[in-house]
Each structure stands twice: as C-alpha cells, then as structure tokens.
C-alpha cells in the first residue's frame, strides 16, 4: 500500500512519499521538525501568524474532492503533485507545497495529514510542541505510545507489577514523547528501565529537580533519556527524549503493592487512564485536561491531552496477572474487563484479557479470595541483612462483635457531584445509588442532599426527618439533579460540614463523585478543617475515579471509600455502606506486641476498624514476631481486646520497599493537610532515596550516554489519553473547564 503523508507546519507542508508497508514499521510520516524550527511557520507565544480557520484537514483520502480540503488552495496542491512525482520510492522530501488539484493523489491508497497545533498560546519555545493528528480511513495511525503491557505477579496479597510502555516514533523527525498516566496510589515504584532494542539501561532515583536537570541536559544534547516523575501519588509523567524516526524505545516500570481486603475478597486495581480533572480558577499546580491541538493551554503544571472520542486511538493495553495464594482460590473475577481465568501448571491462577488487548479507558479491577472458611488475616515477612530488621506486613481482622446497643440517631448528609464530568452515565449511576441510599434510611434518621458544581445548594434549609413523605421529596430532588459546570468540591464540603450536627445525632457524610479535581490538597485540607465528629464515606462513581482523593477523604473523615461502577444498580455497595455504618466501629486502636521489639508501624495513627475492612499494617521488628498479637480498642465506651494469632508468614523481598512506601504515604498524608507542608519534604525525600522509590520529591532518570542522536531534540509530542469510559468529552475537555 502506498501512503502519502503530509505534515503541516503553518504555511508549509512537508511531504513524505512511497511507504510500501501496511503496518507501522517503516512508515514514516514526516513531522518536519527541522523545517519547523528553521522556518517561521511555527506558532509559539510570540508569533503572530494569523489564524486561518479550517486550514488543516485531518484526513485526506484519494476519493476526497477538493471541496473537502478546506484551506488548501488550488495552487498549493499543484506543488505537492510535482514533489511526489519527483520522489524516489521510500524517499522523504520536504517541500513548501503548492498543488493545484488533489486528483493526483489517486496514486496513493492513503493520504494522511498530520496537523501541527494551530493557535497555540502557551509558553514554550518554537519547535518544541506539536499536536499530531493522523487518521486513515477510520483508523488512527500509531502515535508515540503504541502499547502498555501490564504483568502482575501476586503472592497472597502482595503484587509485583511490571508496566511496559512501548514508545515508537512513526514520524520522519525526532521527537520527545510525554505521557501522563496513572498508577495505583499505594504503588511503591521501585524500578525503572529504558530499553533500546536489546540494551537495557536501569534508571537511577534522584532528587526530583536533579533528575529533571539531568534529563533536560541529556535531551538537549541529543542523548536517549527517560524521566519518570510523580505528579500525584496516582499520577505520573513519563518523558522519553530523542526518539529517532522509526525507532522504538520501551520503558519498564516495576511497582509493588499490598492489596487490600474489601468486602470478602482481595482487590487488585490497575488504573489505565487519568480522568479529566477540573482545576479551580486561579490554580496552577493542578492536573489540566485539554483536547488535542490545545496542548499547554491549561495553565497547570501537569496536563493530560485527551483524544476526541470520535477518533480511535491506537494505544492498546495488554494485561495479565498470576495469583498464588498458597491454596486454591474460592474465586477470581473481574467485572471491569472481559477476562479468561485459567490454572497454570504450577498451580497459580492466571487472569488475562479475553481478547488479548483492550483500550486503556477504565480501571482494571480483579477480585479474588482464597478458599476456606473465611479470611482470618495474613502476614508476610522479609529479613533485611542491611538493617538487621525483619520487615512485615500484616492484614489483621478482629472477629465481629455482637453489641447490644440501641442505634444512635443519625444525620445522613449526601453530597452529590453534579459537575460536567458527571454528566451521562456517571450521574445515572449516582442517581441509582442515591435512590438506594434514601430507601435504606431509618425513620429515626434525618437527611440532607447537597449538590455541587460551580456552587453548592441543598435540598432543604435543614436536614429533614426521614419520613416517607420527606423521602419522596428526596427522591424527587435526586430525579431533578442535572450536571453542568466545574467541580468546586470545596464548596460542597463546606456546605455539608459547615453547620453543627443536631445534638444527639451522629453525622454521616457520603460524598458521591468521580474525584476529577486537580487541587486534592485543598480538598483534603478543607475536609480536615471541617470534619469535626462527622464520619465521611466517599463513593467513587465511574470507570476510572480518582482513588487517591476518595481514599484520602475517607481516611481524613475516619470512614472508608467504596466504588460504584457505571453498570451496576449499586445495591451491594450501598448495603455494604449501611452495614459499615450500622455495625459497631472499633476505635482507639492499639497493638500489644507481647514484648516483641516492633518499631515504626505504619500507619502511625491507626484508623477505626469497620466490618469487612481489615487493617493493613507495615512494620519492622528486631528478632521474631510473636505468635500472636493483641489488638485493643473500644466500641462506644466499652473496651475490647482481641488476640489475633499470627499464622505461618509468607516470605516476600518487597516488604522493605513496601514499608518505606507506607511510611512515605503517612508523611505525604500529613503533608497534604499541614499548613507547613515543606517540613515533610526532607523526610519523604530521604526515605525515597534510601529505598530507591519514586515520590513527590524523587524521580527516576535514565540516560544512554553511549551515543548522541543526530540533530536537535526535535518536537515534543504528548501522548493523548482515551476518554474514560462513560465520561463525556464535551463536558470535561471541550468546554474548557
């Protein structure tokens, strides 16, 4: 198949002709980077190239008539014809295109225009950024990230996950690829490799600013280099510099994670896309969401570019997980993706995407449980010769307690995110959830519904008694909820928590949101300052929610987070919520280690324990762990003690890093709500550097110093993300939130 590629750079076109291959390899549409940098056609902040609406068609087919080629004057097209005729097969030529008619394009099976961003107004220099759009007869050309391959290896509840990002430069000029992507918020990112063919270069953890300086120097001098930076605990930026035309560079990231037990199963969540975030006016440190062609326009330090959902992306996801619980599994299931579950010869359970690959547009959620008569806890240990400590991770769950106490009257406040990102399926799921919540109210409860988007408002001036008539009022209010505007979550928080709860009532606040905001720290601080005696239960609604925010809101509010997929009636989730609220909570927790020299247990401030949610702790001990530990706490005012036997531990070498990650998380959590967050920086950085972990203050950098690529560093190309399933592009990305 012959393919004609046109790359538009303002007033000139670069033309590449004669690619014979069908596939990706060998096809090299020209980006004309050098031409762009030399010429005056690039539109940077200081440029004054006038806008020419409709100049750049995204797709030319040979059957296209001249009428469809808006902005191509007859004269310009004529020159393209001559250039093509003069070109040798597989030759790349760069010309200023002047062509008279498009009919000559019949010599080509495909004609593709790669568009340079028009009207870009951000503060980067000439030649640095471009938006690439390419599409052939309904399918997109490969963009710089072809594939993400995820391989998980789970031992009981400790996951070791390798993420391979396969970058490829399909263009005719050198590029730097930039990709903003998610990882689980508790991931201990501990290894990083840049792979060039058979060469594998291990990255080094450095202080963030130092890593960036090294990367920029390597990039500017033409070396292959890659940089992995944490933007949020669950959002990372990958940069790969100096990818030459046709070249492939893989990046391998390894992380460890302890998986939590939730409602009867271990749960492994692999996020695959960062949802489009809203940032309040005036903020600059958020996570921006922009459409292709509008790169660097959000004004935020981190920015995700989203594909127009009408344009199929070529980035594909493969995912496989092996689970070994040391025993048969009662079940392993995945509701988020079609999967196959098989047994391997070694007795492990293998879970893979049924079709081999999928679109990275939603969280992968795997749930599994070991067979047997109920989960009783788990312990893993590792002896570290460098420190002389035995590191451990323990999942502890006290038995359920029957408490004969009259239920306390409750004030149930439901806070519903009605911003634009919730429009469509998320709001439908939210309404189903709300209806179920209202049906479950007790006559002794009072309730209030607060909606927020740009502003917050409530169903009534004060909470209403949960009478049948008032519940009907609530249901009608829910039915009328509509979505629009931004996610001014702080207003919702203040509306929900700003008033004192009625005396004698326990206030329960339930947030329902996708969590698509970029100012997490502001939100967590607002929760911390206003929560008082209330408990906060956060519900993530959608296919790829901001789990970091939702988990942390619940932590700060001494509640728990849960997640409502789009295609569920939410019955199970709401029943679990009410079960948690209605069953006694074990508070004021303390461990008795029976004389063992246990140190540095994380989390430092033990949370309250809810039914169905065991506590995961990390720590280290000099010597042996005792045969059992005692957990002390209170239910109401009554003290309780539980002796919890520690069974035969499994061994896992990742426990040192997981302990360090857990400690970093505690420090980061404290930092997020502290008025002096900088105080925590040295401790976080020291831990991360000592244990070789990515963090807010440390990054991985890898440089291949053995060769210099030709030319300058080329154009920076952001890898566009898929829109999360169920989220509307029009209300989140296109409406310039």
């Amino acid at each position: 198949m012959k393919r004609l590629m046109l790359a538009l750079s303002g007033l000139s076109l670069a033309l590449w002709a004669g690619c014979a291959a069908d596939g990706v390899e060998g096809s090299a549409p020209s980006l004309a980077a050098d031409e762009v940098q030399m010429g005056g056609s690039y539109r940077g902040p200081g440029d004054s190239v006038p806008a020419r609406p409709g100049l750049v068609p995204e797709l030319l087919r040979r059957e296209d008539s001249l009428d469809t080629l808006q902005g191509f004057s007859a004269g310009r097209l004529l020159e393209a014809k001559r250039a093509r005729a003069a070109a040798e097969p597989d030759e790349t030529i760069l010309v200023d295109v002047e062509v008279e008619e498009v009919a000559d394009a019949e010599d080509f099976d495909e004609i593709v225009v790669i568009e340079r961003a028009d009207g870009t107004t951000s503060d980067y220099g000439p030649g640095q950024y471009a938006a690439l759009r390419a599409e052939v007869e309904g399918r997109s050309l490969p963009l710089p990230l072809e594939r993400t391959d995820i391989r998980g290896d789970v031992t009981l509840n400790i996951a070791s996950v390798q993420v391979t990002q396969a970058f490829h430069n399909p263009f005719g000029a050198k590029i730097e690829a930039v990709y903003v992507f998610p990882l689980p918020q508790s991931a201990a990112v501990s290894d990083f490799l840049m792979v060039l063919g058979e060469r594998r270069i291990r990255g080094i953890v450095r202080e963030r600013e130092e890593a960036e300086r090294i990367y920029q120097a390597a990039r500017n001098q033409g070396y292959h280099a890659s940089l992995l930076s944490q933007e949020r605990p669950n959002v990372f930026t990958q940069k790969v510099a100096n990818i030459q035309p046709g070249e492939k560079i893989d990046v391998e990231i390894t992380y460890f994670q302890t998986l939590e037990w939730r409602e009867g199963a271990f749960e492994m969540v692999v996020p695959t896309v960062v949802g489009p975030r809203f940032n309040p006016p005036g903020s600059t440190g958020g996570v921006g969401a922009v459409a292709e062609g509008e790169e660097r326009s959000s004004g935020q330090t981190t920015e995700v570019t989203y594909l127009d959902p009408n344009r199929a992306g070529m980035h594909r996801l493969t995912l496989e997980v092996d689970v070994d619980c040391g025993a048969e599994l009662a079940f392993a299931s995945c509701d988020s993706h079609p999967t196959t579950v098989t047994k391997t010869e070694s007795g492990r359970t293998h879970i893979a995407l049924r079709d081999g690959e999928d679109v990275p547009n939603r969280d992968f959620v795997l749930r599994y449980a070991p067979a047997g008569d109920g989960f009783r806890g788990a312990v893993a240990v590792h002896d570290d010769p460098a420190t002389g400590y035995r590191y451990f991770a323990a999942l502890v769950q006290p038995p359920e307690v029957d408490v004969d106490a009259a239920p306390q009257p409750r004030e149930m406040i439901f806070v519903v995110d009605c911003s634009g990102s919730m429009s469509g399926e998320p709001m439908a799921a939210c309404k189903r959830t709300m209806r179920r919540c209202l049906e479950r109210l007790r006559p002794t409860d009072t309730f209030q519904i607060i909606r927020f988007s740009d502003a917050a408002s409530s169903m009534s001036r004060a909470p209403l008694a949960a009478t049948p008539a008032n519940v009907r009022t609530g249901l009608a209010y829910v039915d009328r909820l509509t979505t629009d505007g931004g996610t001014m979550m702080e207003r919702g928080i203040r509306a929900a928590l700003g008033q004192e709860a009625e005396a004698g009532r326990r206030r329960i606040v339930t947030f329902m949101t996708d969590g698509y905001i970029g100012n997490e720290r502001d939100i967590l601080r607002a929760v911390h300052e206003n929560v008082g005696q209330a408990r906060i239960f956060s519900f993530g609604v959608g296919s790829s929610t901001n789990r970091y925010l939702l988990e942390r809101m619940a932590d700060v509010g001494r509640g728990v987070a849960a997640y409502i997929p789009l295609d569920t009636d939410a019955r199970a989730e709401i029943d679990a919520l009410y079960a948690r609220i209605e069953r006694p909570t074990l508070a004021d927790l303390r461990f008795d280690w029976h004389g063992a020299a246990v140190h540095d247990v994380e989390p430092r401030a033990l949370p309250d324990l809810f039914a169905g949610r065991p506590l995961m702790i990390h720590g280290r001990v000099k010597g042996e762990l005792p045969a059992s530990i005692t957990l002390e706490g209170k239910i109401g005012a009554k003290p309780y003690r539980f002796d919890l036997p520690i069974g035969a531990p499994i061994q896992h070498p990742a426990l040192v890093k997981l302990w360090a990650r857990s400690r970093i998380r505690s420090l980061s959590d404290a930092m997020a709500i502290s008025p002096q967050p900088d105080e925590f920086r040295p401790q976080v950085m020291e831990l991360a550097l000592e244990h070789g972990l990515a963090s807010a203050f440390t990054s991985f950098v890898a440089v291949d110093s053995s060769m210099v690529t030709e030319g300058s560093h080329g154009i920076t190309v952001t890898v566009p993300a898929e829109m999360p399933r169920g989220v509307r592009y029009e209300t989140t990305v296109k409406d310039s939130r």
């Binding site: 080094i204 953890v205 550097l689 110093s705």
Partner: protein
C-alpha cells in the same frame, strides 16, 4: 543453603566485606555524558555473579547497563542506600546456564560529568562468585571505551 541463596547472600553483602582491589583511572573527558565500561577477569572459571563498588569523582551516575555477554546482559542492580551516601555499589547475577570466563564486559556505567569537574573513578572493592557460590578473586577494571589500560 542452596546455590542461589548462597549467591544472593554473597552479592547482598555490603562493601565492608569486599576485597579491596583499587583500580583507578583519571582520563580527562569532555564535559557532559560519558560511559564507563566495567570488566571483570574471571580467570579460567565461569563467572556466576559479581558485586563491585565504584568511586566516582566529579560525576553522577545516570544509568546502568548490562554487558555484552548474554549472561550479564540485564542491567545490574545498584544499592540506593549506598548511593545516598555517595557510594556506587553495583551487582549482578548471571542469567542462563552458559556462564562466561576470562575477561568479561559486565556493565556499562552511564555518568554525567559535572560542570567544571574532572572525571575520576576507582574501583573500591570487588566480590565475585563461581556457580557453586564460592568466592574468588576476580579482577575488575573500569575504563572509558577504548581505554585498554
């Protein structure tokens, strides 16, 4: 203790256990990025694993790459705790059954020479092991590419 465990135990030992066999080079190089090649002479027997402490002066470690032999092609590990203290400790276990002997290029060390500094490098200590886990005195040599000293 099986073979792998013995190898691991050896390789995870810290520099205090290493045999100090200093080798140094002081070849001025242009500012910027450069690569150092780490070779180990395993003598007549096969090399199953190694750990080397390198002292860099005027340069930062920016990447670690494996060597040419298939057994040591994977990127060696480094000790982040040691790096925090300004020491570069690298280690690798051979992969596969065919283990090399003689002088072997086991790693390429990518560094950034700091502005205005002169690159200096020493090998502070070396630990090498045979497939049965026995240690032996392997000689390590660190040099710029093409430097045969």
């Amino acid at each position: 203790m099986n073979r792998t465990a013995r190898l691991l135990a050896l390789l995870l030992g810290l520099a205090s256990l290493l045999a100090a066999v200093p080798r140094s080079g002081r070849t001025p190089v242009p500012q910027g990025f450069t690569v150092l090649e780490l070779r180990i002479d395993a003598g007549q027997g096969p090399l199953a694993g190694w750990q080397v402490e390198v002292r860099l002066r005027g340069a930062k470690l920016v990447g670690i790459e494996g060597g040419d032999d298939e057994a040591f092609r994977d990127a060696p590990r480094y000790d982040p705790r040691a790096l925090r203290g300004g020491r570069v400790i690298l280690a690798s276990l051979a992969a596969g059954e065919r283990l090399p002997a003689g002088e072997i290029l086991v790693a390429r060390i990518h560094v950034l020479v700091e502005d205005g500094a002169e690159l200096g490098f020493d090998i502070v200590g070396t630990e090498t092991v045979r497939p049965d886990g026995r240690g032996f005195v392997g000689r390590a040599r660190l040099a710029l590419p093409g430097d045969k000293r």
